[in-house]
């Protein structure tokens, strides 16, 4: 049931207006967060990108998306969705970089992964 071994600390943000991602085979995941404690020695404590089971940099995203798209059937490629699973406390800088990389890779359908919440809570 689990797609990958998470290597970053990821607590999904909360939102109310969510839609379900229907076809799992069409979804590609990008994880963003601070590396877990056992990896912090090597990868530091700044938020990092995780693709599949490995740490990656933002520059790797474009080739990763192309590769994922190649693995889909021809007629399903336009329906590919990228789910960004980022930590709530992540600064937007890295997310913006990821979004720019996705635009370059022409992966324009994205979804900001979040947990369902019944009522909006304002601090």
């Amino acid at each position: 049931m689990k797609e990958v071994d998470l290597k970053v600390q990821m607590k999904a943000p909360q939102a109310t207006e969510l839609s379900k991602l229907e076809k799992k085979s069409l979804v590609t995941y990008i994880y963003v967060g601070v590396p877990m404690r056992q990896y912090q020695g090597r990868y530091g404590t700044e938020p990092r990108v995780q693709l599949n089971d490995q740490f990656a940099s933002v520059d790797d995203i474009q080739s990763y998306i192309v590769q994922e798209r190649e693995s889909l059937k021809e007629n399903e490629r336009p329906l590919m969705t990228v789910s960004i699973k980022a930590d709530t406390e992540c600064p937007m800088g890295i997310i913006t970089d990821i979004k720019q990389a996705l635009r370059k890779a022409m992966a324009l359908k994205i979804s900001y992964s979040a947990r369902q919440m019944d009522e909006m809570s304002y601090n």
Binding site: M1, A15, K85, P91, L102, M106, L108, A114
Partner: protein
């Protein structure tokens, strides 16, 4: 010698226990369906293309988020809780104000004659230091503004919620309230990092 009976384990209830366990695990295993806020990114801009013509100020609802997660909406600070209603009022422009988007009366076959604001755009800009949760909350509130407007119109004209409508009618309602959230090319809006 008397014939000794081989002792037997009473296994009659084993099937029940197995069945119970099966049900238990069926119920507790979650096929974690991923849900999220869906968005479509704009096409990448070819390097040699001219920037698009500026949109008239009255048609733009400007939302800025700084690195301290504070909102600046149309030039003045705003709390997150007020954003949804402000966005709804802007998109609808019920009073036909000069400062809000141009109102155009259109005829949509499924709905009839209705006032729309086809040029209204919500422009969202954030700083690189903005927290992801804040950004997502803002996106969520803007989405909620559109969803509520569409739902209100659906209930008013068809007496059904937007989700219950047929695809064509949903399309007609989306024509009245098209969702236009534009995100500026990244740049720092100030406040650190």
């Amino acid at each position: 010698m008397a014939k000794r009976e081989t002792p037997e384990v009473n296994a009659g209830s084993l099937a029940d226990i197995a069945f119970l366990l099966l049900i238990f695990f069926l119920m507790t295993t979650t096929m974690d369906t991923d849900s999220g806020l869906g968005r479509t990114l704009p096409q990448p801009i070819p390097p040699d293309e001219e920037p698009p013509p500026p949109i008239r100020e009255r048609n733009v609802f400007e939302v800025l988020i700084n690195a301290n997660n504070q909102l600046l909406v149309e030039g003045s600070p705003m709390e997150l809780r007020d954003l949804k209603d402000a966005a709804k009022e802007f998109i609808e422009n019920p009073m036909n104000l000069e400062t809000m988007p141009e109102v155009v009366i259109v005829e949509i076959p499924e709905i009839g004659t209705i006032a729309t604001t086809p040029k209204a755009v919500i422009s969202l800009q954030n700083d690189r230091g903005t927290e992801y949760q804040t950004y997502l909350s803002v996106q969520n509130e803007l989405q909620r503004a559109y969803n509520e407007l569409r739902d209100e119109l659906a209930r008013k004209t068809f007496n059904k919620s937007y989700d219950e409508l047929e695809i064509e009618l949903q399309k007609a309602i989306r024509e009245v309230y098209p969702q236009k959230i534009s995100e500026a090319e990244p740049r720092n809006v100030g406040g650190g990092s």
